[in-house]
C-alpha cells in the first residue's frame, strides 16, 4: 500500500514546491496550463483510453462547464470556486442523453456522432443569445474577494490558480488510478477488447460506458469551469472549438492510451512545446500537435508513458532474473 502511495505523495510534494521555486509568472502560467490539460487528457482517457470509445466531442463538455461557471457568477453571483463543480455537474448531466444516444454506435461511427453533437452544441451557444450572449460571450472583469486563513487571496497573482489547477489534475489522475483498480475499470477494458464478449459474460456495456462518460464529463466540465475562472473569458470559439476536442485526444494518445500517467506526460510534452511555439505565432502549437500525433501513431502507438513503463518492467524483470541466477 505504501509503495503505491509513495509516487502520489512525491508528486503532490513536488507540485506544492513549484510556486516557491518558480518566480516567473510565465513559467507558472505554463504550469497551470499543463495541469489543466492533464486533467482534460485524463478525462478523455477514461473513456477513450480505457473503454476504447474515441470521442471527438469532448470540447462540448468542457464548454458546458465553462459557460455554467461564468454564467452562474455573472448572472447569479455564485463564486467561480463553487461554479467549477457546478460546471462539472452540468457537463455530466448533459453527457447522459448524449451517451445514451451515441453509444448505440460502434467504432468510428461513435466518433462521428460525437463530432456532430459537439458541433450542435457550438451552434446552440452561438445562437441562444439570451443565455450564452452569442458569439460575444462573457467576460469577468473582477473576481469576488476571498479570505483564506486570514489572508485576502490575491487574484492578480497566478499562485491561487496554480493551486486549484494542481488539485484538479491530481484529482483527475487519482480518479483514473482508482477506476483502473475498480470493477468498472476492468469492465471498460473488456469493452475495449471485445464488446460482444463483454456482454456475453454479463457486463452491462451501455451502463458502464454511460457512467464512464459522466465521470469523464464531470472532470472535463470542472476543468472548463477552471478555464472560465482563470482566463475570465468564455466564447464559443474559445471553449467549444473542434481543435479543443482534438487536443484532448492528442494529449491522451501521445502520453499513452489507457495508462494513469499518460495524460500528465502528454500534457507536459505537448503544452511546453506548444507554448514555446505559440510565442512566435498563435496557432503554431497545433502544427506540432498534428505532427506528433502522426509520429506517435506511426512509431509509438502505446504512447510515451506506455513505452517507458514497458521498458521499465522489462529492465526490472531482467534485473530479477540476474538476481535469481
Amino acid at each position: 500500500m505504501t509503495r503505491q502511495l509513495a509516487p502520489w505523495l512525491a508528486g503532490a510534494l513536488l507540485l506544492a514546491a513549484v510556486p516557491a521555486l518558480v518566480e516567473s509568472p510565465f513559467a507558472i502560467h505554463v504550469c497551470i496550463l499543463v495541469l489543466m490539460w492533464t486533467a482534460l487528457g485524463a478525462a478523455w482517457n477514461l473513456l477513450g483510453g480505457f473503454a476504447g470509445q474515441v470521442s471527438f466531442g469532448h470540447a462540448s463538455l468542457f464548454g458546458v462547464g465553462a459557460y455554467t461557471t461564468i454564467i452562474l457568477y455573472l448572472r447569479a453571483g455564485v463564486a467561480p470556486w463553487w461554479g467549477m463543480p457546478a460546471g462539472g455537474l452540468a457537463a455530466a448531466l448533459v453527457s447522459l442523453p448524449v451517451g445514451l444516444l451515441c453509444f448505440r454506435l460502434r467504432g468510428p461511427y461513435f466518433s462521428l456522432a460525437t463530432l456532430a453533437v459537439s458541433e450542435l452544441v457550438k451552434l446552440v451557444a452561438l445562437n441562444w443569445e439570451s443565455v450564452t450572449n452569442g458569439p460575444v460571450g462573457y467576460l469577468i472583469t473582477a473576481l469576488p474577494p476571498l479570505r483564506l486563513f486570514g489572508h485576502a487571496v490575491d487574484w492578480e497573482s497566478k499562485t491561487p490558480f496554480y493551486v486549484v489547477a494542481a488539485a484538479l489534475a491530481l484529482a483527475a489522475l487519482a480518479a483514473t488510478a482508482l477506476l483502473r483498480r475498480a470493477r468498472l475499470g476492468a469492465y471498460l477494458v473488456a469493452i475495449r477488447e471485445d464488446e460482444e464478449a463483454a456482454e456475453a459474460v454479463g457486463i452491462d456495456t451501455v451502463r458502464a460506458k454511460v457512467l464512464t462518460l459522466a465521470l469523464s464529463a464531470f472532470v472535463a466540465g470542472t476543468a472548463g469551469g477552471f478555464y472560465a475562472f482563470y482566463f475570465r473569458y468564455v466564447d464559443p470559439d474559445a471553449v467549444l472549438g473542434l481543435s479543443l476536442s482534438m487536443e484532448m485526444v492528442f494529449i491522451a494518445v501521445v502520453g499513452g492510451l489507457g495508462t494513469v500517467g499518460g495524460p500528465l506526460v502528454g500534457a507536459v510534452f505537448l503544452t511546453t512545446v506548444g507554448e514555446a511555439v505559440r510565442e512566435r505565432f498563435p496557432s503554431g502549437h497545433l502544427v506540432f500537435y498534428g505532427l506528433f500525433m502522426m509520429l506517435v501513431i506511426r512509431f509509438l502507438p502505446e504512447g510515451i508513458w506506455g513505452r517507458a513503463r514497458r521498458l521499465a518492467t522489462g529492465l526490472q524483470e531482467r534485473a530479477l532474473r540476474h538476481g535469481a541466477a
Binding site: E119, V287, F292, M294
Partner: protein, 287 residues
C-alpha cells in the same frame, strides 16, 4: 413560390459540389475503410490553389482545374504510399486518429503560411447573376455546378466501364474476394486514394469563387461531408450524390423557412438521426 424555386435551385447547385466532396471520401472508405479526417483540408488546398493561381499567374480558377486536379491526384497517391499505408494495419481507430493529426497539421501550416484572413476570388463574369426562368443564378456557381456534373459523370463512366473502375468497385464490395480474383488490391488502393484526393481538390477549386476561403475552412467542410456520406450510406457513390443534393436543398430551404442561424444544425440533426436509425444510409445501399 419564387423564393421556394430560388432556394431549391441554389440548394441543388451547392449540393452537387457537396456530393463531389462526399464521393471522394466515400470511395476511399469503400475500398480501404479509411475515414479520412483530412479530406476537408484537401478541399481547402484546392481552394487556395485556385486563389493563388489567379493572384500570381492570372489563371482563371476554372481553367486552373486542369493543373490542380492532376497535382492533387499525385499528392494523394504519395500521401497513401509514403504515410497512410504503414498505418492501416493498426486498425480503423488508429487511422482515424492519424488522419486527425494530418488534418490539424495541414490546416495550421496553411494558417502559418497564408494567415487566417478571409479571402475571396472576384471574377469579371461573376458580378451580375444569370436569370433563368425567373430564378437568378450566380455565374461562378453555375459554372462550378456544370463542371462538377461533368466530373461526376466522368467518374461514373470510369467506375462502370473500365477494367480499373470495375476492380475498384469489386474491391469496395469485398476486398478479400477481389484479392482472390487476382485484382492488384494495392494498386487499386493507391489509385482510389489519389482519385479521392483529386475529387476533393477539384471541388475546392470549383467552390473557391463562391465561398470565403480561409485555412480552417476544412473543419466546416469535413463535417458537412460526413453528413453527406452518412445520409447516402458510407461507401456508396450514388448515395453520396443523393446525400449531397439532399443536404444542399435541406440547408437552403431550412435557411429560408426555419432559421438561417440554425441552417448548419439541420444537417447535423439529420446526420444523427440517420446514423441511429438508418445506419446503412437513407437509401439502404451503404454498408
Amino acid at each position: 413560390m419564387e423564393i421556394f424555386a430560388q432556394s431549391v435551385t441554389s440548394g441543388v447547385l451547392t449540393g452537387v459540389l457537396y456530393a463531389m466532396i462526399g464521393i471522394g471520401l466515400t470511395v476511399v472508405f469503400g475500398v480501404m475503410r479509411i475515414i479520412n479526417l483530412a479530406h476537408g483540408e484537401m478541399v481547402m488546398l484546392g481552394m487556395f490553389g485556385a486563389f493563388w493561381g489567379q493572384a500570381l499567374w492570372h489563371l482563371d480558377p476554372f481553367v486552373s482545374l486542369l493543373l490542380w486536379a492532376p497535382l492533387m491526384f499525385v499528392a494523394g497517391t504519395l500521401l497513401y504510399r509514403l504515410l497512410l499505408r504503414k498505418i492501416l494495419p493498426g486498425g480503423e481507430l488508429n487511422t482515424l486518429l492519424y488522419t486527425a493529426g494530418l488534418s490539424l497539421l495541414v490546416a495550421n501550416l496553411a494558417l502559418f503560411l497564408w494567415s487566417g484572413d478571409y479571402r475571396t476570388i472576384s471574377l469579371s463574369y461573376g458580378a451580375s447573376p444569370l436569370r433563368v426562368l425567373g430564378v437568378s443564378v450566380s455565374v461562378p456557381l453555375a459554372l462550378a455546378f456544370g463542371l462538377a456534373l461533368a466530373l461526376t459523370a466522368g467518374l461514373w463512366l470510369f467506375l462502370a466501364r473500365t477494367d480499373l473502375g470495375r476492380a475498384i468497385r469489386a474491391t469496395s464490395q469485398n476486398g478479400e474476394a477481389a484479392l482472390l480474383m487476382g485484382i492488384d488490391v494495392e494498386k487499386v488502393a493507391v489509385i482510389t486514394f489519389g482519385m479521392g484526393t483529386a475529387l476533393a481538390g477539384a471541388a475546392g477549386v470549383l467552390l473557391a469563387p463562391s465561398l470565403y476561403l480561409y485555412p480552417t475552412v476544412g473543419e466546416l467542410l469535413i463535417v458537412k461531408c460526413f453528413v453527406v456520406v452518412v445520409l447516402g450510406g458510407l461507401g456508396s457513390v450514388p448515395g453520396a450524390i443523393a446525400g449531397g443534393v439532399l443536404l444542399g436543398v435541406v440547408e437552403s430551404l431550412g435557411a429560408v423557412y426555419v432559421s438561417s442561424a440554425y441552417k448548419d444544425g439541420i444537417g447535423f440533426v439529420l446526420f444523427l438521426l440517420v446514423l441511429l436509425y438508418r445506419p446503412a444510409g437513407l437509401f439502404g445501399v451503404g454498408k
